[in-house]
Symmetry: C2
Subunit: 188 residues, 2 copies
Amino acid sequence: MGRWKPGAGDRLREAALSLYLERGFEQTMVADIAERAGVTARTFFRYFADKREVLFDGSSALEEKSLAALEELPTTTSALDAVAAVLETVARTVGGDRELARKRQAVIMANADLRERELIKLTSLSAALADRLRQRGIGDIEAGLAAETGIAVFRVAFSRWVTATEDHDLQDVIRETLDRLRALAAGG
Amino acid sequence: MGRWKPGAGDRLREAALSLYLERGFEQTMVADIAERAGVTARTFFRYFADKREVLFDGSSALEEKSLAALEELPTTTSALDAVAAVLETVARTVGGDRELARKRQAVIMANADLRERELIKLTSLSAALADRLRQRGIGDIEAGLAAETGIAVFRVAFSRWVTATEDHDLQDVIRETLDRLRALAAGG
């Protein structure tokens, strides 16, 4: 038995991100990823439907967790506080490994199709959030605005977090960005 | 000479939107649009590069006008006030014909590719706005937040405007939506 190795899924993800950065997403084949991770292509397909899924397989879990976080809040929570609570959950889910997040972001930013997919993912999360806020009795317009604003705060905060030279906590960056939004809206 | 007819460009746009709604965007051919507008396919291509351009040909003009509106503001204007001024310009540009806007929106909402294109267009406008705000001396984070928030307000307001049963002015709907955002941010 050799030394301990991380699971095949994690190794495949690492190998894929490195190859996407080295050669470009389009130029990387599933066979290359499998080879670098030391597994067969068949093993790759046990973990991911295709090479794009390596980047986006966390999306539906993230949406589920976000909506579950909403359910736990008192029904009296205001729209923006509810969105802030959801963002805390998002930060805990995607904020654990900045190096991984930085690599993923670099791959996505380098490819128009991937940027579109990321944008669509966030818009879908926004629509789902707005729906749940409406179900919680928040007015139609406030629900839409709070959800869209939450996504705006996330996009700005996430970009700050991955590009910062120092290592900050994503939750702190999100909180600070939300505070800045409140100040902006109050002062404008 | 017959009765007055609108220009071929306007007739082509009308014909295209009607056909996209009747048959679906995918199922409509340029030849069908030209035929309904009473012109040749060659004339169609003098006005539009392809059938998608009928829906999006105003985008670059809208972006130019939006950025030009920013230039006219005093340099002391706050980030959110600057975005509010840009939204006034956007409202004047796209708010003239609600029936046309309503048809265009229905066509876009019915097709995933078109929804993506619309999303990308708005994201590109947001990035351009943020850049110009930074050039005006507004801090990096505030610029990003103000631009993203502006787009959020526009998306919510535009959707309210086209789906409303009564005929409102787009500028009024945008102003009211921005006020709601301020209240939301202050009260949350």
